[in-house]
Homo-oligomer: 321 residues x 2
């Protein structure tokens, strides 16, 4: 849940006067998004989400994120669309923070995804990769291979307190991945955080994607590996190959994976597991006093990493030849 910044009624009204969305009728803080403050706005023109960007989102990245949402909506991907003010700008300023209004998107995230949801997510991810192709701005992945040793140094000394042996396991995994990380795979704009929280469904059908604040340029197959981790494991961290199969087939229906991507999938899945293991570990060890957000458990991703370490090929994820 997340409302880090309170917005006064007067400053909100004067902010909205710059937009052509009618008078303000209601504004409620909503418990969505971990990085930002979010409000549900009702105005004369309907319902919208107002986001205030807190310190974890770099202001310099906002034109990429907002431009990407505009770009994807224009290409038929259902995601929130930034509302532009009367001067044409999507990015404003409110309560001392960068602020954006986006359209309200119906739909619910699923708590227990089944194979059909995984299939739909695979398809949507491939459509996203295709839709992002002509987007002109680039953003490098700030949480990839070169970032992992940096994150690890912030957690190394206390890692074994979370799980005995974790520091060595992570150090070994980083060396392993540094030696084998693929190069030159098909790449472009990836979502990089397409967890169940960020996918909406309506009556069992995928209805929209949200939260593009980790989007960046990287290998398409790495994005797919993130989704395999996020959607196809059970609560007990066992891999559900039926879900994996559904996701991979869904992806392949829209964009066929190349031989190199298929070969790289196990390494990419290990990297994807390590990336979330590390950010969760750092967050876990650095919960501020009186934090409003409960950090996510890093152990879940230790277990996923260990699964991938025993995988022998993409077949183990359910990829049919």
């Amino acid at each position: 849940m997340a409302v880090y910044t309170e917005v006064g009624d007067e400053e909100l009204e004067s902010f909205l006067a710059g937009y052509d969305i009618g008078p303000l009728l209601s504004c409620k803080g909503i418990a969505e998004g971990v990085e930002n403050s979010n409000f549900l706005l009702h105005t004369g023109a309907g319902f919208f989400i107002l986001t205030l960007y807190e310190k974890r989102v770099a202001e310099a990245d906002l034109p990429f994120f907002l431009g990407l949402m505009d770009h994807l909506v224009e290409r038929g991907i259902t995601c929130p669309r930034p509302v532009h003010d009367r001067t044409g700008r999507a990015l404003g300023r409110l309560a001392g923070r960068p602020a954006v209004i986006v359209t309200f998107l119906d739909g619910m995230s699923v708590r227990r995804p089944d194979a059909k949801h995984c299939s739909a997510v695979g398809e949507a991810l491939a459509l996203l990769h295709r839709g992002g192709k002509s987007f002109s701005i680039e953003r490098r992945n700030a949480l990839s291979l070169d970032a992992w040793p940096v994150l690890f140094r912030q957690a190394e000394a206390r890692a074994d307190g979370v799980l005995p042996g974790l520091a060595v396991a992570v150090a070994d995994e980083i060396s392993y991945l540094e030696g084998r990380w693929p190069r030159g795979l098909p790449s472009g704009v990836i979502h990089a955080d397409l967890f169940p929280d960020n996918v909406f469904f309506l009556s069992g059908k995928l209805s929209g994607l949200i939260d593009f604040y980790f989007a960046c340029n990287d290998f398409f197959a790495y994005d797919l590996a993130i989704c395999l981790n996020a959607w196809c494991f059970e609560q007990d961290a066992s891999f559900n190959i039926t879900k994996g199969m559904a996701m991979l087939a869904g992806y392949n229906r829209v964009r066929k994976l190349t031989g190199e991507e298929i070969e790289a999938l196990p390494v990419l899945a290990r990297g994807a597991a390590l990336r979330f293991l590390l950010t969760r570990l750092v967050d876990w060890l650095n919960v501020p006093e009186g934090a409003l957000v409960k950090p996510k458990d890093p152990i879940e991703y230790v277990k996923k990493m260990r699964f991938h370490q025993h995988v022998t090929g993409a077949r183990d994820y359910g990829l049919l030849a």
Copy 2:
């Protein structure tokens, strides 16, 4: 902010199947209300608020609260209206908790009320008192005179740690009020918590009242005293007599205060200040580990109590003869 209970998409859908408000389109936790978990629902029939009652609201009191809202709406008071399910019941059960769906109310609470807002609140309070008259259920005020010593005992030992001398000041105030608390004043249903958070405005006009979870039967003038405390003091705890005057005149326009009520107003205002001082003090001293809600400062109400201790009559609040 408040979402204490997570609700799964599947259990929510089956809960909503009992209501005639169309299919579920969206559900977002909202940061409103300190005592309960609240969600904004979008369904085929529009927008609603879903409330799950957490432990601080006694389930036995819910028929009073919900019946009161129905009763007031029928009498033209704008407040959330409980949605009744297909069997006619307003009170349901979801995620192991009592649960209610109410209509969504437009409007914004004001952060810095001016005299016009205070006038409108005075008027609305009197209309509420009039509207509640024929309501058949009763609920005694669980936070009045007889509750204050009980609350004080929970805080006494540590009160001086919050403010030196506070324990004695509160003990003295309780004795004072016990000796002088009025009897037999006009009474009926009061809101008992009509703070700025709980009053909505649209374009400067009062558009609705929310949060009836402290409503009970008590003196009407005590409710007015709570509002004087909540609306007519400045940030520095100085009393703004222009606002007081506006509120009292607004109230008097709809329901004329009797001579006894006017005479009792200073004592009632002291009691109203002590009531919030005590509940805030207890909350302040009992913040649970990892609490999601920042407790409100009890000192604000110490200052208000001290102001009322020097008041000589209702004239000091701005009541014109």
